[in-house]
Amino acid sequence: MLFRMIRGVLFHQKGKMLLIAVTIALGASLATGMLNVVLGVEEKVNKELKNYGANITVKPKDASLLSDIYDVGEGEALNAAYLREDELGKLKTIFWAFNIVDFTPFLDTRAALKDGSEVQVVGTWFNHHLALPTGEELDAGVAGMRSWWEITDGRWLNEADPNANNEIMVGTALAEEKRWTVGEKIALTGTHGEMDAEIVGIFDAGGDEDSQVFATLDAVQALTDREGKVASIEVSALTTPDNDLARRAARNPAALTSRDYETWYCTAYVSAICYQIQEVITGSVASAVRQVAESEGTILDKTKLLMILITALSLIGSALGISNLVTASVMERAQEIGLLKAIGAKDRSITGVVMAEILITALVGFAVGYFMGFGFAQLIGHSVFGSAIDMDTRVIPIVAGLIALVTIAGSLPAIRMVLRLRPAEVLHGGH
């Protein structure tokens, strides 16, 4: 009998139930969409912030001050220390390897031109192809880490070209000063070799790099007889904003309790990643570039908080909307409920029937709404960040619980209220 009644309502009052189902579906899709976005936004914004370049620099332990402070020309340093190029792949083997987005080595020198003047030549990776022992393959280099460079003429240097080691890119300021153009050949004389380089691109970096020459790492190593050596590495990593523990750990990891140490080591704090880089790169000091690392934390925190508050507003909005409509629909059925009561139905069974109808409608609405909401999240992910937002399974119970709660909260008091009325009054239609 109960099933027949419920079925009756669901099929005979299609219009009304459809309205409820649509509203619940909309509310559920709003909640699902926003929760998925808010849970995925940190990762997406973090990736966007990689635009600002490296947040970690790795230098040899002993040589950090040499060229900066003593004005010793590169390549002449007496006991200059270097990092090993063959160890770079190890960056992708640390605990947080997955968070290392990009990295590139640097080695600079001064090279003489034909007219006797000197230019600074920076050797680096552009789009260096790495095949890791783990089977992973990736392209690392400045092409990904200097997103703000504007190629004013020519193109990016491509390491896949057979002639790549004889190609260079030149900063705008230098190109203007020397009146160099793309395609021109320039003879560069280093401390231990020479290079007949062709300019393939001119870039505007809006900084010191505008007066430098960029060549492949191999080429600069050959110019200065420093095979397999690099002077510094820039690393771009996805990190978790620092908290108190991270700040304590950054000062001295050894002072932490073993439990704190574990927590710190296994969280993607910039200091933890630095520490792990130092473990795999021999004789290195990895330090966080505070300008990037610190700001990243601020922006990430703000964005997350903003999204959480907007989500809270839309959750409250859809909750109120649903419970409102449910209340309205129950009240609309006052006559029917009055009739049921008049022919002797118990309050409890009336409540049961009405609730069952509404909850079944809500379930249908939720199922439709969940997928709609997921679609909205993907729409936002693709159009804003150009990538899908991961489906977070935590969202399902949250939204289901929310829908159940607001549906019950919206209908129960209304049913009670209608039941309290005398059947004759309700049926009569007056209030």
Partner: protein
């Protein structure tokens, strides 16, 4: 009873009698309007607030003197007036010189700057200890501190080696704090005015003796005989400007000018002529993870006292503006004829544009989705509330009401609810946006007056549309069927 009064009475009666239902409708419109007003306010405010947050990445514009030109503090102040109101977050002037640390036979790049501005332009600087606050204090980069082993509170002696020798001036002694300066300048009709100034520990004038015996006694001579004139120099640091730092003695302008010139000349000459060694206290160790860790920082005043020159190499500006606006500022400054060129720090500006663009698009899409869904939600509720009254519509029709009058009445109710809900929502929405702004960005937002009519209009439109649809259906049906309840 006139027709209009009857109409009003019907609407108010219906609203009052059917309190609970109308409350539901009002609540529904109110929620919709709140979300509309709140989200739109946030959407418009987020770029501004986020841009302010983005300034934590530091300077996005550099000011440098043109080739062959110089930049000093006065010129900088003039250039900075070109920035409108809140756009300029900070402007940190820098002057770089290499100073010798005699005890270790090493030299370090030292930057003279204004620390109150550095805090604004480089908020990511992490200082162990504190920034220098008084004269003769320095901030040392971490790499240097580790190499030479200084700590917060230690002293270090730095020597400035002049690159050019001074010409002219009556320089006699060091111009460092605590020194005595003597100088002279040409006064009235070629007579020399001589000054002797004793400086205190902070390089401010402690005592000043003026010899104006060559000047006419009743005019220029009074600079020597009237002590009030000399007194106004006490406690001031050099160089001085007449009419700004000190006032000329009336009737003795030429001689007053000569006194100031003599003092300034003495300062310049003494400072430029000799190596200058000063002892500084380290107040903080700087960690940045960048090349700043290899520098020593001191205040511009200390730098000027040490080298005797008011010269700036570069000024870092942190400007809160869009990329186009930044470009406009840079062009205006470069083309202003001040001999200063402005360059954008591409790394910061380009990345900021990219990241902000994404964030804005994110908030935009979220706003659209939320608004769309909320508005549909509102209209379904309104539809439910109205279609409930089909029996009433049928009854009225049966009693002879025309379709038009029924429509007008229901529409009137809808519009009334729309206005009420819209006003309520606009206020609540602003409160919500304010809460978000204060919690997320720590600053408040101003109320957009335009938002009130817009919110009300949208609410009325939604209420009216969602009323009309069910009414149309109810009106179309035969009253008898409606009343029967089928």
């Amino acid at each position: 009873m006139t027709k209009r009064r009857m109409f009003l009475r019907m609407i108010t009666a219906s609203l009052l009698r059917r309190r609970s239902r109308m409350l539901i409708a009002l609540l529904s419109i109110g929620i919709g309007a709140t979300i509309l007003a709140g989200m739109v306010t946030i959407y418009y405010d987020v770029p501004r607030q986020m841009r302010a947050q983005m300034r934590s990445y530091g300077a996005n514009m550099l000011l440098m003197p043109d080739d062959g030109e110089t930049l000093d503090r006065e010129k900088l102040a003039r250039v900075l007036t070109r920035f409108s109101g809140e756009a300029l977050v900070g402007a940190a002037p820098y002057r770089y010189v290499r100073l010798d640390m005699t005890s270790r036979q090493q030299s370090f790049t030292t930057a003279g700057t204004d620390f109150s501005q550095v805090i604004k332009t480089s908020p990511y600087f992490s200082v162990e200890g504190g920034y220098p606050e008084k004269g003769r204090e320095v901030l040392v980069g971490k790499e240097i501190a580790e190499t030479i082993g200084v700590k917060v509170g230690s002293d270090m002696e730095l020597t400035w080696q002049p690159t050019a020798t001074a010409t002219g001036g009556d320089a006699a002694s060091d111009r460092v704090p605590g020194a005595t300066l003597t100088g002279s300048a040409e006064g009235w009709s070629g007579g020399a005015v001589s000054v002797t100034a004793v400086l205190d520990d902070t390089a401010k004038i402690k005592e000043l003796t003026i010899d104006a015996s060559t000047q006419t006694a009743e005019f220029g001579g009074r600079t020597q005989t009237e002590p009030e004139f000399a007194e106004q120099f006490i406690g001031k640091s050099l160089p001085l400007e007449l009419g700004k730092d000190v006032d000329a003695l009336s009737g003795a302008t030429v001689t007053s000018t000569a006194v100031v010139e003599a003092l300034n000349g003495a300062r310049q000459a003494t400072a430029a002529s000799k190596p200058n060694t000063v002892r500084y206290t380290v107040t903080g160790i700087l960690t940045t993870g960048g090349e700043e860790e290899g520098y020593i920082f001191m205040s511009l005043e200390d730098m000027e006292a040490l080298t005797g020159e008011d010269r700036l190499d570069v000024t870092e500006l942190s400007v809160s503006a869009e990329e186009d606006q930044l470009n406009a500022y840079a062009e205006a400054i470069t083309g202003s004829g001040e001999g200063v060129k402005a360059r954008l720090v591409k790394r910061v500006t380009k990345s900021e544009t990219a990241v902000l663009g994404k964030l804005q698009a994110l908030v935009f899409l979220v706003t659209v989705v939320v608004l769309l869904l909320t508005m549909i939600c509102v209209s379904t509720t309104m539809m439910a509330v109205v279609s409930e009254r089909r029996r009433e519509i049928g009854l009225r029709k049966a009693l002879g009401a025309s379709d038009g009058s029924i429509r007008v009445e229901f529409l009137g109710e809808g519009v009334f609810l729309g206005i009420l809900g819209g006003v309520l929502g606009a206020i609540l929405g602003f409160v919500f946006a304010q809460v978000v702004s204060v919690n997320v960005f720590g600053s408040s937002i101003t109320f957009q007056p335009l938002l009130l009519p817009v919110t009300v209009l949208v609410s009325v439109a939604i209420a009216a549309v969602s009323c009309l649809m069910p009414i149309k259906r109810a009106v179309a049906i035969d009253p008898a069927i409606v009343l029967k309840g089928e």
